[in-house]
């Protein structure tokens, strides 16, 4: 079992650009949550996808959007990047029957210059 995988591992962008991050959930998991982890901070919930729909959202602007595909993989898109978007972006997957059991991927480190 490959666990949760994310790509790319690192990314450098400039202000105003757009970025897409990808996540493949653990086998058997159908729910994907995205978190932003700033340096020295705990993860902050961005949104969650289930059955290809955004089910709930944290306190993040509309510049942050996502998608879930029929195979449960997911993408996180961030438009009009700001310097403050520099962070580690974490994907967590869980089975719908046990939502609290979340497994995190290694994250994508985004640096906005």
């Amino acid at each position: 079992d490959a666990g949760v995988t994310q790509s790319p591992t690192h990314l450098i962008k400039t202000r105003g650009q757009q970025v897409t991050l990808r996540c493949s959930p653990k086998s058997g998991h159908d729910t994907v949550s995205w978190y932003q982890q700033a340096l020295g901070q705990g993860p902050q919930f961005i949104f969650q996808y289930y059955e290809e729909e955004e089910r709930q959202r944290g306190n993040f602007p509309d510049r942050f959007s996502g998608h879930q595909f029929p195979n449960y993989s997911s993408e996180l898109n961030v438009n009009a990047l700001l310097l403050g978007d520099s962070a580690l972006y974490l994907c967590a997957s869980s089975p719908s029957v046990l939502q609290e059991t979340q497994y995190f991927g290694p994250g994508t480190r985004l640096l906005v210059l």
């Binding site: 705990g42 993860p43 995190f104």
Partner: protein
């Protein structure tokens, strides 16, 4: 904004000692409180979790103590080892769909 307050921010403990990390939560909507361990360059990994129908849960050298009336819970790492050096996060489940609020983290350094 963090609604789970975690302390201390960092701690140094000698090998064989006890590490204690404390968390206080505000939201009591759902009773599930996990601790995650994160190594540099890695994602958080679930370490141990508790539901407040019990006041304590132990798994190997790791113990969670829970005080529902005080809205506090803590992680005890017994016989700390250098391999335990990592950042530890507490979390609180805020709804039935798996949305968590995390503490700010505690960096633990275990010296040989």
């Amino acid at each position: 904004q963090q609604q789970v307050k975690q302390s201390p921010q960092s701690l140094i403990v000698q090998k064989g000692g006890i590490s204690i990390i404390n968390c206080a939560y505000e939201n009591t909507a759902f009773d599930y409180f996990p601790w995650y361990q994160q190594f540099p360059g890695k994602g958080p990994a679930l370490l141990i979790a508790i539901r407040p129908d019990v006041s304590e849960k132990k798994e190997g050298r790791f113990t969670i103590s829970f005080n529902k009336s005080a809205k506090q819970f803590s992680l005890h790492i017994m016989d700390s080892q250098p391999g335990d050096s990592a950042t530890y996060f507490c979390a609180s489940l805020t709804d039935s769909w798996g949305k968590f609020q995390f503490g700010a983290g505690t960096q633990v350094v275990v010296t040989p």
